[in-house]
Symmetry: C2
């Protein structure tokens, strides 16, 4: 179980979506625009309540695969779990819809939470300040590169890999990549769950971030930029658009931010110095109708 | 300021997006896929911290228009503000990025929050239980109808109204409609903010829900279904897809749930008895390329 070694080009991803998993979709009967009976596949969505040791942290809505990676990734990306915290166990219980992350010692966050609730109530507000404080200290590797030939190959591969998106829609995907190869492809009804699952996977398997590229189907908002920077990944690509604060934060952190990546088009609004324009554009197909993901009819 | 009276067909919406508002978008310089310099419009996104009386509730990321409606709608949809609570003021401060909702008397929620934080920490967990408890008690009007001629007219009108979506993308829209007419069209970087702004508008202006239709660009998740039912609106339409739990909850509440509404297609997975198939399908254009919103390249 050390996928970190296998980075051969052309090999299958270490983690790919499993659209055949019967727990992830359900067939539902309904009617179409003519009034005729139809049956369509819809994505599952279930609550999962996360505990850090004995503290209840949050209830998330998730498709329900990889609860262990989701739990660890969530805590990492919220800065509730620090690199130095030793995780000694993750217990998932399907019946009670809970997942418990246990650390060797009480975390700094639990301590803060206890102090905070004694004074002014809920500690969720402290999380944001903490995350931003850490964000300012992160330095991304300057020598990372994104070849446009990798970018076009990645987008093409990701759009055609079997996925829940192609089967049932209403889902987001996040993909950890190296050069032109997708390595870890997670999907979830919550865009941030998909990122968190990748972050959890990286932590559990000790995956290096500096040479990676992150792809998301979601918009390039501040939250998406913060999470990518926190994970230490220098390049973020999306088929969707940007928000102004996402761009601002990416520039502050020196993150390469590529949006609206479809067919042969894309726009870089931060960190253009990492892009190497090596692709022969005349050889890049514009996105054909048959390659169109359901995105053409999925807005979020 | 009583828009509730004006429901003439063909009249302009009471609230429409204002893509010309300079506070809502920013032009940002970058590079395109050929390496050429380009300037693109991106959506603004700023933090807004919400207080209920002296309690800090949450920090939201929003484009920043209508903070008053957003604040009230958020509290309503989280069940933190009850119909019987009297709002005596909403104070928005641009510099500190805060909005304070003041009620005549301390709310039941604040009382619960205080009791809860004394025992087991953060009270966010209680919110979900409360919302579901209320959800089970709501009865939607059985006699509401959705004519397919209205549906096609609504989708066409909404897709062609000037909007931040068409200008800058990376944004969600929610529209309160009656018959074939959009009445309140709100956009926000957060899908749920757009819903909450509509809910706040309805509360402030005392808008009846029973004869309305709700349109969203976002997916039909459990959260979207719960909010629509809480608002008392019997019909929910989206151009996006469904989640299984969204469908389940819609059926439990008797909500008419229409998804994947594009061109002449749509799918109804709950409450089909409210649909009246009166449109002449041969007269309904399939969505033309020029009518395509940027959704074709925006995934979320």
């Amino acid at each position: 179980m050390s996928p970190a070694d296998d980075i051969r080009p052309g090999a299958a991803p270490w983690v790919a979506p499993d659209p055949e998993d019967p727990r992830l979709t359900r067939r539902v009967a309904g009617r179409d625009h003519t009034g005729a009976e139809v049956e369509v596949a819809v994505t599952m969505e279930r609550p999962l309540t996360l505990f850090l040791n004995s503290r209840e942290i949050v209830t998330m809505m998730t498709i329900g695969d990889h609860p262990d990676y989701l739990a660890i990734g969530y805590l990492l990306n919220q800065n509730m779990l620090r690199p130095e915290d030793r995780v000694v166990g993750v217990e998932h219980d399907d019946d009670t819809e809970t997942v418990v992350v246990r650390t060797e010692q009480e975390t700094d966050f639990e301590d803060k939470l206890r102090r905070k609730t004694l004074t002014s109530g809920c500690a969720q507000g402290t999380v944001f300040g903490d995350v931003m404080e850490k964000f300012e200290t992160i330095r991304l590797p300057a020598d990372a590169r994104l070849r446009t030939s990798w970018l076009y190959a990645l987008v093409r591969t990701i759009n055609t890999l079997p996925s829940l998106y192609l089967t049932a829609g209403a889902i987001h995907g996040c993909v950890l990549c190296r050069e032109d190869r997708p390595l870890v492809y997670m999907e979830d009804v919550g865009r941030h769950n998909a990122v968190d699952k990748v972050a959890g996977y990286m932590r559990v398997h000790g995956i290096e971030a500096a040479d990676k590229i992150f792809y998301t189907t979601g918009r390039l908002t501040s939250e998406m930029v913060i999470k990518t920077v926190q994970m230490g990944i220098p390049i973020l690509i999306s088929r969707s658009g940007f928000t102004a604060w996402g761009v601002e934060l990416a520039r502050r952190a020196g993150l390469t931010l590529v949006g609206r990546a479809k067919g042969r088009r894309f726009v870089v609004l931060s960190g253009p110095e990492r892009i190497v324009y090596d692709a022969d554009l005349s050889a890049v197909d514009e996105e054909h109708h048959r390659h169109h993901r359901k995105s053409a009819r999925e807005d979020d």
